[in-house]
């Protein structure tokens, strides 16, 4: 038992030692992506080009949970480059929605040490779409034509109907009169349009469903919708660090993907169920070597991810135990200060997981360290609390007997308090472990791997099967962990009265 604990401890130390050195050495390039199909595909294209160039070892940190995390990661050099959109940069990152053009945005970013590539080509923004048959019949290509049309029906998401810059503004901008509008859930709107219940709906302009349902996207000829032109986002130094790769990106990708092409690539993945890698190859063409990577068996991948997952949980748990048990004991001996400590761990519990992960990026980068740390923080409360409760439940009589025997507090701890509180402590550890098996699925958002990777990909693709290939093993692991602790409890090393 002891040997095992030491082995795990030693092992976990080395894990941390490795991960502490999170900033990648010069000859590696970390490519990031957000957690939706288009971002995955673009990032995969980048990765393939960079691999082909061979200037640096390519590391993929795909599927990170949102703009905040990606930007934080870039700022802290946890990633070197990721695909972004001009509109997102001006609104979310710079928080200056007035900046519209590529030039303005690039200039502003450059001041802060960042840079963006020229436009990849397509613009992923809101757009109005209609059935192809309807479009040909009425001969509509531009939104401005709506002004002269007699009657039509529109279906919009409730959000678009309500938003300041939504439907009301659109109506004003294009000066079309009062028409039937229907508030409808986005995915249902496609069906409604297809079955001629509505004639127009709002879409994302590169949505795979545009191709699936054969829709026509109307040209925003009076420039109502903001621009979300895809670009590459990186630090200024990127072009100097990887000059050849930089050049290759410009040569193969920049200016090369139109809206129609992006819709096709998206639908390759979302409709035809091809992998991101296949979609990337479809764009890059035959010139790119395919053979290098042996395709993982699905089962093997799940196993690898499960192991990664359990490593996240177990390592963070060991450190949580190492801190929380002493904290619980301390809280028991110093009730006042103890309550404060317990309160603090409770507060940590209430921080939303993603917010905590995001908050940790400036200090720990992305990948394993913040994931370990966040799981560690979440593990603390149940263990500290149960340690405290376990110690509190020891009868005073027994503590007095310890005193009368002349035990030192250390002897008392080892011979009496710890063995008697062990069961309670263990159930705290069990709670933490089971909760963390669940929480660890979020680690994928910051590129720490684990079963969340599958869930994340599945969510991006809206593909329940892939979600389940991550969720079911995760649930299974949770049960396994639960049973593991039940068995330990039955064995109860420290007590003879069982």
């Amino acid at each position: 038992m002891k040997v095992l604990i030491f082995f795990i401890l030693f092992h976990s130390m080395s894990v941390f030692a490795n991960d502490a050195n999170n900033k990648e050495p010069k000859d590696t390039m970390v490519i990031g992506s957000k957690n939706f199909t288009e971002s995955y595909i673009l990032a995969e294209i980048l990765a393939k080009i960079a691999t082909q160039v061979g200037e640096a070892k390519v590391i993929r940190k795909f599927g990170m949970g949102g703009t905040g995390i990606c930007y934080q990661s870039l700022e802290n050099e946890a990633i070197d480059i990721y695909p972004e959109y001009t509109g997102t940069i001006s609104e979310v990152i710079l928080k200056k929605p007035s900046l519209k053009s590529w030039n303005e945005i690039q200039k502003e970013l450059f001041k802060d040490g960042y840079d963006i590539s020229s436009e990849i080509g397509f613009n992923n923004t809101y757009a109005l779409a209609t059935r192809l048959s309807y479009a040909t019949e009425k001969q509509i290509k531009k939104i401005s034509q709506l002004k002269n049309m007699k009657s039509f029906r529109m279906g919009f998401t409730h959000e678009f109907l309500k938003r300041e810059d939504g439907y009301q503004q659109l109506k004003k901008h294009y000066q079309f009169g009062e028409h039937d509008t229907l508030g409808i859930e986005h995915s249902l709107a496609y069906e409604a349009l297809n079955s001629e219940k509505i004639d127009f709906m709002e879409v994302y302009s590169t949505d795979a469903k545009i191709s699936k349902f054969g829709l026509r996207v109307l040209e925003d000829d009076l420039n109502f919708f903001p621009n979300y032109k895809a670009i590459l986002f990186y630090k200024k130094s990127f072009s100097n660090r990887f000059p050849k790769t930089y050049k290759a990106f410009n040569q193969y990708l920049i200016g090369k993907i139109s809206n129609e092409q992006m819709i096709k690539l998206n639908s390759l993945v979302e409709v035809d169920q091809k992998s991101f890698s296949d979609a990337a190859f479809a764009f890059l063409g035959e010139g790119f070597s395919k053979s290098k990577k042996v395709k993982n068996l699905e089962l093997k991948r799940i196993l690898t991810l499960s192991i990664e997952h359990m490593k996240l949980v177990s390592v963070s748990l060991i450190f949580a135990v190492l801190l929380a048990v002493p904290v619980g004991i301390f809280a028991f001996h110093h009730r006042g200060f103890g309550q404060v400590l317990l309160g603090m761990t409770a507060i940590m519990q209430t921080i939303p997981s993603l917010a905590l992960l995001c908050f940790l990026i400036p200090f720990l980068g992305i990948g394993n360290p913040p994931a370990y740390f966040a799981l560690f923080l979440y593990g603390l409360l149940p263990i500290a609390r149960n340690t405290y409760l376990g110690f509190s439940s020891i009868p005073t009589k027994l503590i007095e007997t310890c005193e009368l025997m002349g035990m030192s507090s250390w002897q008392r701890l080892c011979y009496v308090e710890f063995p008697l509180a062990f069961k309670s402590i263990l159930s705290g550890v069990q709670t933490s472990a089971v909760i963390n098996v669940g929480t660890a699925t979020l680690a994928a958002f910051i590129g720490a791997g684990g079963l969340g990777t599958l869930i994340n990909t599945g969510l991006a693709l809206n593909n329940t099967k892939i979600i389940l290939t991550g969720a079911i093993p995760a649930a299974f692991l949770a049960i396994l962990v639960h049973v593991f602790f039940e068995v330990i409890e039955k064995r109860n090393f420290f007590r003879k009265d069982h």
């Binding site: 027994l398 007997t401 005193e403 002349g406 035990m407 011979y415 009496v416 007590r495 003879k496 009265d497």
Partner: protein
């Protein structure tokens, strides 16, 4: 040997010990006798420092209690609390040998001493492999007694150590203990409800009521010259009628 000087103790408004003077003499066996709730356990707790006193002074072998460290106290004083205080998670063997481990004693010596004691208290050694919960109340008391005696301390503080034993075992144990106390020259304070036990074991008996010592002395003194009606009543309650009649006809 043990001395309490105008010791008082109250829990909030409840004055349990108003003011107590008590002397436990060297190598003598003293019995604290009294009704339930009269403060017997409290006195023992005051002597062992488990309960802080409100005023007065306790000294052990001339040294103030407050100057003794827990270790020093434990090496001088063996203690058996009213409910035994055995550790539920250890076997009886482990319970008994624990004081030895704490004080770095030779466990083999203690083990053979334990065999001796368990014969003396009439407890099968095979029971010692069990945990306390698997023993009867009387068996547990004997294990607790063995543990209290195991380090062979000079002073013994025993809180009703035989209350759960059947009369036969108790009688033989009382005989054994009396011999041991004398042979090994122990200073003993033993709490009991049982008048017979007090009269048999006690060189000095302190009769307690409401936290005050009503009378102290040998059983004979208490019996023949009760200071208050209470003493007479207390004794009468436990002495069979024939004996009382006998006393009545004498006086």
């Amino acid at each position: 040997m043990i001395e309490l000087k105008s010791v008082s103790k109250s829990y909030g408004q409840n004055v349990v010990i108003p003011s107590l003077d008590l002397k436990i003499l060297h190598e003598k066996t003293h019995c604290l006798l009294g009704t339930s709730g009269s403060g017997k356990t409290t006195i023992l707790r005051l002597i062992s420092g488990l309960t802080p006193l409100n005023s007065g002074e306790v000294s052990i072998q001339g040294a103030p209690l407050s100057n003794l460290s827990r270790q020093e106290f434990a090496s001088k004083v063996g203690f058996v609390s009213q409910d035994g205080g055995l550790f539920p998670h250890m076997t009886c063997w482990e319970n008994i040998l624990l004081p030895g481990k704490i004080h770095n004693k030779d466990l083999e010596v203690l083990r053979s001493r334990c065999y001796e004691f368990s014969k003396m208290v009439d407890l099968p050694v095979s029971l010692l492999d069990k945990v306390p919960a698997q023993l009867s109340g009387g068996q547990r008391q004997r294990v607790a007694l063995i543990r209290g005696l195991i380090l062979d301390p000079d002073i013994l503080l025993l809180d009703e150590p035989m209350s759960a034993l059947d009369p036969m075992v108790r009688a033989s144990l009382q005989r054994q203990l009396k011999i041991m106390f004398k042979e090994l020259k122990k200073t003993v304070l033993i709490i009991t409800h049982d008048l017979h036990e007090a009269s048999f074991l006690g060189d000095v008996i302190h009769l307690l009521n409401g936290g005050r010592i009503i009378q102290e002395g040998s059983f004979k003194e208490l019996y023949e010259r009760p200071k208050e009606d209470f003493v007479d009543e207390f004794l009468k309650a436990q002495i069979p009628d024939e004996l009382l009649n006998h006393k009545g006809s004498q006086s």
